[in-house]
């Protein structure tokens, strides 16, 4: 009888330590999860920031400006343009 008691007592102690350990692990993992969630949020914010930046850098206004003034580009005059229609004979200048 007393031997059984001792075995049960030891079992209880081991399990109690197990519970404490599991609880601790759960909390640690939860903290990690929180950190990852925060990181994810930050990444989204960063992504939005980058989209804004891209939007501003690629704005038609800016592209046009640097094409005309920076690269000295210009729309070709219509005399030097030709339209090509896929699947049809080429349309040439004047009809």
């Amino acid at each position: 009888m007393s031997r059984l008691n001792i075995v049960l007592f030891a079992l209880v102690v081991v399990l109690a330590i197990g519970v404490v350990h599991a609880q601790h692990r759960a909390r640690r993992l939860f903290v990690d999860l929180q950190k990852e969630k925060d990181t994810a949020e930050q990444r989204v914010a960063e992504w939005n920031q980058l989209q804004i930046e891209q939007g501003m850098l690629a704005s038609s206004h800016r592209v046009e400006d640097s094409a005309v003034h920076g690269l000295q580009m210009q729309l070709p005059p219509s005399s030097r343009t030709r339209m090509i229609v896929v699947g049809q004979p080429q349309i040439q200048g004047v009809r």
Binding site: R27, Q51, S79, M83
Partner: protein, 578 residues
Amino acid sequence: MNVGVNSSRLNLRLDGWRSRLLLIALVSCFAGLVGRAAWLQGFHAGFLQQKGEERYSRVIEMPASRGIIRDRNGQPLAISTPAESIWASREDVELSPAQSKSLAGLLHMDPRELAQRLNGGGRGNFVYLRRQVTPEVAQQIMDLKISGLFQQHGFHRAYPKGEETAHLVGFTDADDHGQEGVELAYQKDLGGSAGARRVIKDRAGHIIEDVESIRVPRPGQDIALSVDGRIQHLAYRELRNAVMVHRAKAGAVVILDTQTGEVLAMANYPDYDPNNREHLSGAQLRNRAITDTFEPGSTLKPFTIATALEAGKVTPNTVIPTGGGQMTIGTSTIRDTHPFASLTVAQVIQHSSNVGAARIALTLPSETLWNMFTDVGFGQTPKLGFPGEAGGRVRPFRSWKPIEQATMSYGNGISVSLIQLARAYTIFANGGQLRPLSLTRVSTPPSGRQVISSQTARQVTDMLELVVKPEGTAPAAQVKGYRVAGKTGTAHKVVGGRYANRYVASFVGFAPASAPRVLIAIMIDEPAGSSYYGGLVAAPVFSALMGNVLQMLAVPPDDPNSSLFDAPAAGAGSAEDT
């Protein structure tokens, strides 16, 4: 020996009441404890548990991010980024002079202004020092470790396209609520709702356990507008140029996809930068295309003609006597800019004859004309869901006098907004159908309502094509390679109840005329240069815009008489002749 003593000891017995007293005292002590325990455990437990939990559990607000507004190609027009607000609890702030200086520097504030915020003026203990600073700056401020200074999470709204889309997209206030434009119109979808949850925190302030979710946060939905960023840019640029060249007071452009009813672009000038909204005036803020009404002038004539065609009163070739450009009704005289003795119905449109339109209108019952105006949406709000939509004004037909019916036939005495006018014109481009407009992307076009027969629509379109011919009022509206249909308008403005020498120049047109895809409506308010006619002020804008938009949408040219491009000049460099 001393028996007496012995016997007295034997007789020494305590009085019975003393032990009973002690018993009662002890029992009542225990009863007291039991009672207290019962009180705490039974009746007071909730309160105590709550107090206990407050030591470690916290309710955390979970802010919902606002949805992104995009154009039809997915380009962002409005995006939220995290921002912090710095606030102070006045009584608790202790600043050393050095701290004060660096704080003012980080807040971009004058140190005196900062001191004034913190000490003087205003009631209450709570004061915002600056709202919407970047998280980096907020962190630097927090690193100063000033007591009584706190930060609050929020969002800052950025508008990458700035002025170009300002009137359409609108903006939000510091609390992330839409104030203007689409931001206000779609507040419900964009806004989302903040959530809250209960958590357990440890000593260091880390969240260590999620207890319960009180409210699930609902992030705002993204919205895809029907607007095309590239077309919007063109529209804005051309409009701004036109307003500046003609030293006009204002202007607006609306571009529609005639097949789906989608708004491809909507630009206004004067404008403002939604990213920097200091010193704003109402004139800058208004989305004139939607909120302002004007007398459309001659751009209304096609509706008069369409009504007469529908009623079978005229055919495009019926000859209308135009009395040398003058016509008197009662005491009033209607005049034409270019006088003719007589014109066919088609020529009435081509030369924009007021007398001709009036003569045709007077053959119609006023109710028929009123029905047409109402059927195409004049006098009613366009129901785009946009804030401040104007409905315009069409007076009830019972009160029309003949002179009023005559002037209304060419667009005086009736007021419309530019978007109403643009939408009304889609009946000619769409085989007589009027579709609802949409600011958001449409996958399947909503069914329209047949307002006029497709035959009438075709006939009016043919007349509108004459307008841009060399003899018409707007040859400047021609687009190389495409057949264009459109109508000019030049209306006197009503100032203080009478017509003044100020004008609204307008042009509404669509192309390709053989199978319309795009409709553009332009309104230039009070051009102050040498010319003020719609055909000279608004038509060139139309031509430039339409040419670009059609090429952008890869619409094949439909004009057999003029090529998209000039013939290669003889001997011109790289262009080979075949």
